[in-house]
Amino acid sequence: MFAALANPLRFMAFSRWAAPLLGAAAAVAIGVGLVFGLEAPPDYQQGQTVQIMFVHVPAAWTAMLAYACLGAASFVSLVFRHALADQAAKAAAPLGAAFTGLALITGSLWGRPMWGAWWVWGDARLVSVLVLFLLFLGYLALRASIEDEAKSARAGEILALIGLINLPVIHFSVEWWNTLHQGESILRKGGPALAPVYLLPLLLMGAGYSLAFGALWLARTRAEVWKRRATSLALQAALA
């Protein structure tokens, strides 16, 4: 499937209807998930604030999905020198940064009533998501600061792959750093077994966020393709 889509014409034909379709599916999943989520009973410990989970946890999932997509697209672009893969990588990065930022903000809003603090350095996940955010920002800054499109693509690929190798190490080190200092029991939210009444909206929202990411990713990649076409047309017109 991916090999077929590597052809830009076929990709444009595919994404033309796939992007709105994914967007519609995302809207349905998020809409239904929100209804179920708002109807979920208050948690016996967390009260109504447990509902923040439905907008927070999927954002964190999607942020990681976005980095995986960025890394995969960068790898394909580096190995096979596919222009479309680079455009996909470039399109995925701001989305990933946005979802990571969303995860950080909603997490902070959830943390305030739950832990009594906007930010807790003792929680490993918070810190590793913050580092993920910085990785996205570094990628965006590097791409933005190199004017030559081909060089910017190459440098971005290298950085994305360095980040991809580093992410598990960062996650592990942060987790380990946390356990070294303390294991606060307050920070354990929910517990491993989630009641179906919470699990269903959470999974729906997760699907919705991922579909929304897919739709936006396709749309942004399309825009990137159009932009390059416009640039090359302008160049041709100027040379003629």
Binding site: V131, L132, L134, L135, L137, G138, A141, L142, S145, I146, D148, A150, K151, S152, R154, A155, I158, L159, L161, I162, G163, I165, N166, V169, I170, S173, V174, W176, W177, L180
Partner: protein, 219 residues
């Protein structure tokens, strides 16, 4: 061949905008400023001394990264090195090793002094030096990758810091944990070994990224 290159890189790194003096000077200034902002109570300072010394070490290592590849890129020496018989990966490794010797080693010697001046236990000095030396290796190689990537952009400094900082979290965590554990009497070998593993992995892998980034900037 490698020996000649190493000598050249050492001479350049030493002469490059102060090199070691600048980094150690930054370390000294930052360690003087910190107590002024944190307050003078010895107990509180001693509590954070080793951690603060580690952060300052990491920041001081970032200072001279910008010139690592940039000058060779500007005066064309990097083109010649690229055409020369040595693979660019080896050239990048030698550059990072020179950076480590010229900047990392003096910093490794200065870090325990700064930490003890802030109130860390003097017994921790050997461990601090060792950890700072290993950390300096990681900073030099990971930082070199950032410096090589920023070559194509023409605005080094802050960009390198933004690229490199998230990648430096593991060595900062491992190094800080080793020293901290030693201070409070916990086992410190495991974090030190993790720090060494990270540094060696960086030394083994980043030269490929640096060479690719240099070729990209030169193309």
């Amino acid at each position: 061949m490698i020996g000649v290159l190493l000598k050249r890189e050492l001479a350049l790194a030493w002469g490059r905008g102060g090199g070691a003096a600048l980094a150690v000077g930054f370390l000294a200034c930052a360690s003087v400023m910190l107590p002024l902002s944190l307050g003078p109570e010895p107990a509180r300072l001693a509590r954070v001394a080793s951690g603060v010394a580690w952060v300052v070490l990491a920041l001081a290592s970032l200072l001279s990264l910008e010139r690592m590849f940039e000058r060779d890129f500007e005066d064309g020496a990097l083109d010649l090195l690229c055409l020369g018989p040595l693979p660019l990966e080896v050239v990048a490794t030698v550059k990072c090793l020179a950076q480590w010797v010229v900047v990392g080693a003096p910093l490794a010697l200065a870090t325990p002094i700064a930490a003890i001046a802030l109130g860390a236990k003097p017994q921790a000095a050997p461990l601090l030096t060792l950890a700072a030396a290993l950390g300096g290796l990681a900073f030099a190689f990971v930082g070199g990758a950032g410096a090589a990537l920023a070559l194509a952009s023409r605005r080094g400094g802050l960009l390198i810091a933004l690229i490199v900082l998230p990648l430096l979290t593991p060595p900062v965590i491992f190094g800080g944990a080793a020293v901290e554990s030693f201070q409070i009497g916990l086992p410190w070998l495991a974090p030190l070994l993790m720090l060494g593993a990270y540094a060696l992995a960086a030394a083994a892998l980043t030269p490929f990224a640096m060479a690719a980034a240099c070729r990209n900037a030169l193309s």
